[in-house]
Symmetry: C2
Subunit: 141 residues, 2 copies
DNA sequence: ACATATTGTTACCCTAAAAGAAACAATATC
DNA sequence: GATATTGTTTCTTTTAGGGTAACAATATGT
C-alpha cells in the first residue's frame, strides 16, 4: 500500500486470527485471505513470528499454524519485536559539520531523546496482550 | 536517505540552531549547512515551523529566522506537530473480508491500540523542552 | 526605482523501502 | 510417490521521502 511498514499491524492481525478460536487448522492461505494480502507476504511475516517463538508452524500436507503460547501470555511488544519493525521516528544521518557546535552535539542528544520515546512507546505495548486484542475484536463486532 | 520521515529530527536540529544563541541573524542557508541538507528542503521544514508559530521568519534582503518563543516554552511535541510527522506505527489498509470476524473487528481495535501508543509517545515529547535539548547539546560537546 | 538577498512555493527527478508476485526448495502427510 | 503445506529467494511494482532547481513574493539598501 504505502512505503510505510505495516508488518507490525499485519502481524497483530495474523496472531489475532490464530488466537480467535474458530478453527485450529489454519493455513497461511486462510490468514492471507483474512488480511487480504498475498500469501507469500503473509508467510514471510509468519516466518518471523515462528522464529520468535510466538507461532508454531507445521510443514507438509495438512500443515497448519498455531499460537505457541496462550494469548494472555503474548504482549504486543513480543509481536513488535518479532517483526523487527522500524523505530517510532528516524534520525537524519547527515555528516556533522565539524565547525558547528549544534551539528556536532546533535547526534548524542537526539539518540537520547529517541531512546526515551521509544521505551515509552514499547512500555505501552507491554500493557496489551493478544488476549486483550481478541476480546476487543469480539466486542467490536 | 531512507523512506522514513526524518523531518522531525531535522526540525529539532533547526530549532536548536536558532536557540543556541551564537548569532541572531541566521538564514536558512546557514541552517542548511549545519544540518548538511539542501537549503530548499530546510526552507520547506522551516516554513512549517513558521506556520505553526514556533519560528518568526523575515523575508527580503537581510531576512532572518528566530525563535518565536523562549526555548523553555517550546516542547518537542510542539515541533512534532508542526512538521506533521507520521504516527508511531502504520496500520495496513486492506479492505475487510466481510465473512471473517477478525478481519471485520480488526480496524477499530487497532485504531484504539495505535491511539494509546501514540498518546504515550507524545506525552514523552512534552517532557522535553527545546531548552533541555540545547542544554544537552552544550553538555555533550 | 532598481538591484539584491532573502523566504516561500512549486515542480520534477532520484532513490530506497515496502509490498506484490512467482518460483522453487524443504518437508510432512496420505 | 503424489500432494499440500511452510520457508526462502528473487524480481517487479508502487510509493513516500528527499534532492534539486526554478521561480514567485517580499523586504532592504543604494
Amino acid at each position: 500500500m504505502s512505503a510505510n511498514n505495516t508488518q507490525f499491524s499485519i502481524a497483530i492481525h495474523l496472531m489475532a486470527g490464530l488466537g480467535y478460536g474458530v478453527r485450529s487448522d489454519i493455513t497461511s492461505t486462510d490468514l492471507a485471505s483474512s488480511v487480504n494480502a498475498c500469501p507469500s507476504f503473509v508467510r514471510r511475516i509468519l516466518s518471523k513470528l515462528s522464529k520468535a517463538g510466538l507461532v508454531r508452524t507445521m510443514r507438509g500436507k495438512s500443515g497448519t499454524c498455531q499460537l505457541a503460547r496462550p494469548a494472555d501470555d503474548i504482549t504486543l511488544l513480543d509481536i513488535y519485536e518479532a517483526v523487527d519493525a522500524p523505530k517510532v521516528f528516524a534520525v537524519h544521518a547527515y555528516p556533522a559539520q565539524s565547525l558547528c557546535p549544534v551539528s556536532c552535539g546533535f547526534k548524542p542528544m537526539i539518540d537520547h531523546v529517541l531512546e526515551k520515546a521509544q521505551i515509552s512507546f514499547e512500555e505501552t505495548l507491554t500493557e496489551t496482550t493478544l488476549a486483550d486484542v481478541i476480546t476487543e475484536i469480539k466486542k467490536g463486532t
